[in-house]
Structure formats: structure tokens, C-alpha cells
Symmetry: C2
Subunit: 123 residues, 2 copies
DNA sequence: CTAACTTGTAACAGGAAACGTTACAAGTTA
DNA sequence: TAACTTGTAACGTTTCCTGTTACAAGTTAG
């Protein structure tokens, strides 16, 4: 088995233990987010940007479909003064909480993750 | 309809537009978290602590069942050096990201939320 | 004490969403 | 041209969430 084959969806799927289509779907998300480069018919995938330029937030946003971490009761009772205004009050805090979470993710790059992996492997 | 009846699960359920059992289940979570006081057979529910002593994090933890915001691939391939160590690397960052989110929630009390509601109602 | 309330909870049923899989079109390379 | 690959739509299954029903347990007014 060639080393270049370690990038194919089939090989990765076998290593992870899932179907190859699952890998291709995730790869598609990463490609649309501009993180990896894949081409129909060409085996394998390679990075679109160097590892230090990819943060965990980039990956998180690429994979996560829902933009909002918190979801709020969709149909408030118009006759209820609480229900009419609770959205506005909560959305502010929830937005800031999500922003705090995402800021932490943006502080760690894939390069640091890979470095930690290599350090753990040599132990 | 008496004003005291506005605390019963039946009344709240009608106002929100859900089944009364749903309200009782949520109330049970809040009671087990020490936020509200309810008693079998006694109509209504009242706060266990004053509003300024209840943060959004208290409510979040009471209602949210899963302790971890991020879940990680459960069965790593032991022959894959990445899969063997990726958990440890990611758990640290994920934990800190969740902690940042929860810290923001802990900075806002229910008293402030109620105050914002009252301000919006008088507009 | 009894009747009519309530809350607490287990059990069941329904629907929705997530997931893996299959199948095939489209592209590339030897 | 043949044998690969990726991209994606479509399908079936399974799991999970949710609402509902049903009933036990407790309280209070009369």
C-alpha cells in the first residue's frame, strides 16, 4: 500500500471505523470552509492553509451546521409579557457566552494540536 | 381565577403552550438543583433562593443533562497514533472553551433578567 | 373523613432527526 | 479505455426527543 493512499476517503474510513461516505461528507464541509483541497477524481486531500493558520474555531464552524449554541422557545405567547420579551433579554447573554467559547477555540491552532500529538507519541 | 393559581403546572403549561407534565418535569429538575421549592399535593412553586442569588449558569446546569458540551469519538483505533492521543489533546481545549462559556453565564443573575423584562414591558 | 384538587413519575406512543448505506454520476490517471 | 477516485442524492434504519396517558402520593377545603 502506497503512502499516498493514506489520504483517500476509503483508507481514512477504514482507520476510523466508519463508512467512506461519512469521511467524504466531512471532507466536503472542510472543503467548503476553505480548509482542505479535494478534487473529484483525484485521490486524497491536502490542506488549503498551513496548520498554524487553521484554528479550532475554523474547524468547529466548518463542521457545526447550527450557528447558535442556544435555541430559544420558538412560539412565545403574545398575551404573556414574559414570553414577549424573554428572547431579547436572553439572546444578548447567550450570544456573549457563545462568543466567549468560540474565542477560546480561536486561540488554539491545529499546529499546536499536532505538536501535542507528536509529544505524546514519543513518550 | 385566583392569582395563586398562576403558579400551578396546569396554568403555566397553558400559557406556554405545552403539556403540564413537561412543566412538572422541568420544575423537578429545578427543584433537584435547589432553585425552586415544590411539594407533592401543594399547588404552585416558589423560589428557593432570591433572584439575585440565581445565575443563568445555575439554571443551565439544572436543565442541561450532559455535563460536557463537546463529545469525542468514543472508540479510537488503537493502531492509529492520532486516535490514541487526540482525546487528551482536545479535552483540554474543549474544557477551557466550555468553562469560558459557563463563566459568562455565571455573570448574569435572574434578577437582572427580570429587571430587563420589566424595563421592556414599560416601553 | 371524604372529595377534589394538586405534584411526581413511570410507561407508552409518535414523530423527527441523525446515521450508515447504497447507488450512481463525474472526474482523473495509467 | 479501464480502473481508480470523489461528490452527492436517495433510501432505510435506528436512535433520540417529545408529548401524552395513567396512576400513585400528598394536601386542603368542606
Amino acid at each position: 500500500m502506497n503512502e499516498q493512499d493514506e489520504n483517500t476517503s476509503e483508507w481514512m474510513a477504514g482507520s476510523i471505523g466508519v463508512n467512506a461516505v461519512v469521511v467524504r461528507n466531512v471532507t466536503g464541509l472542510l472543503r467548503r470552509a476553505g480548509l482542505v483541497l479535494t478534487q473529484q477524481g483525484v485521490p486524497g486531500a491536502r490542506l488549503a492553509r498551513p496548520l498554524p493558520d487553521i484554528t479550532l474555531l475554523d474547524v468547529y464552524r466548518a463542521v457545526e451546521d447550527s450557528l447558535d449554541l442556544f435555541t430559544i422557545h420558538p412560539r412565545p405567547n403574545p398575551e404573556c409579557s414574559v414570553g414577549a420579551n424573554i428572547q431579547v433579554s436572553l439572546e444578548g447573554v447567550f450570544g456573549e457566552a457563545q462568543q466567549a467559547m468560540e474565542h477560546r477555540l480561536s486561540q488554539t491552532t491545529m499546529a499546536e494540536i499536532v505538536r501535542q500529538l507528536q509529544a505524546a507519541a514519543t513518550c
